[in-house]
Symmetry: C2
Subunit: 128 residues, 2 copies
DNA sequence: TTCCTTGCAAATCGTTTGCATAATG
DNA sequence: CATTATGCAAACGATTTGCAAGGAA
């Protein structure tokens, strides 16, 4: 399955690079559509999955049941606002040693961990 | 909305107490059905949601897109096997201070965090 | 020409909901 | 009797998939 170039994939990838708000497939679709009106939702999903599998982007599952995508593939943590659903990056360092701790007393191979934080974002806090 | 007793809710709750493998709604349904053949999937979902909202059980979102339920409501971490999907409890202590760390440099209110580990469980490691 | 990609629509999957009926307090 | 809960089936929202047509190597 050698990969072939596709304008659609390029546009999707480019769009994601410009955003740091971790958009959903639907949001990617709506935006890419402005510049590429014929693109279909299926194509967006297919390419997001493809890019994620290749490790070019990150798929985030943050508890709201909707997948979010992030062009920043470095290890970092996220915050999800329970009020507005906004997803933002946290500046905190990746927790080293957490895997070692988890491996203690565990039968099997622990490869990684997923962590995200939730609460009320700055914007929503002020609007109350 | 005063709660009224229901045999179905009781059976669902009882069943969950006997399991430590964090079953999905579907699994709860299939099992409860043996003892209560007329129960409907909708009722299972409604009651699981109800019990979770009351804090009697925990709803777990572990990245596989399917909700898992846990009768153990104490704070503890989980491991998900990428091979067979099994969910098990980890013995590691809850990470204190992680919220403090996350709050540094953050504009907004961080209320909690979700963490789970993934990899290959002991059973799957041996079967290769 | 090969075979990867697309657009479109239908299908899937987990979950929720409307409604008439049954059970609880 | 007033309400909450149920079974059933239809509705939902996010995502996937089959297929014939289009585009890249």
């Amino acid at each position: 399955m050698a990969l072939k170039y596709s304008r659609q994939r390029q546009v999707i990838s480019d769009f994601l690079m410009t955003r740091k708000d971790h958009p959903t497939a639907e949001v990617v679709y709506k935006n890419v559509r402005q510049e590429y009106p014929n693109i279909s939702l299926g194509t967006v999903y297919r390419n997001l999955t493809l890019l994620a599998d290749m490790g070019e982007i990150q798929r985030l599952r943050l508890g709201d049941g909707i997948d979010h995508f992030d062009a920043d593939t470095s290890a970092h943590y996220h915050f999800v606002c329970s009020e507005c659903g906004a997803v933002t990056d946290l500046k905190m360092p990746c927790m080293e040693g957490i895997l070692e701790t988890a491996r203690k007393d565990f039968d099997g191979e622990i490869q990684g961990h997923v962590t995200y934080f939730y609460g009320i974002c700055g914007k929503c806090t002020k609007c109350k």
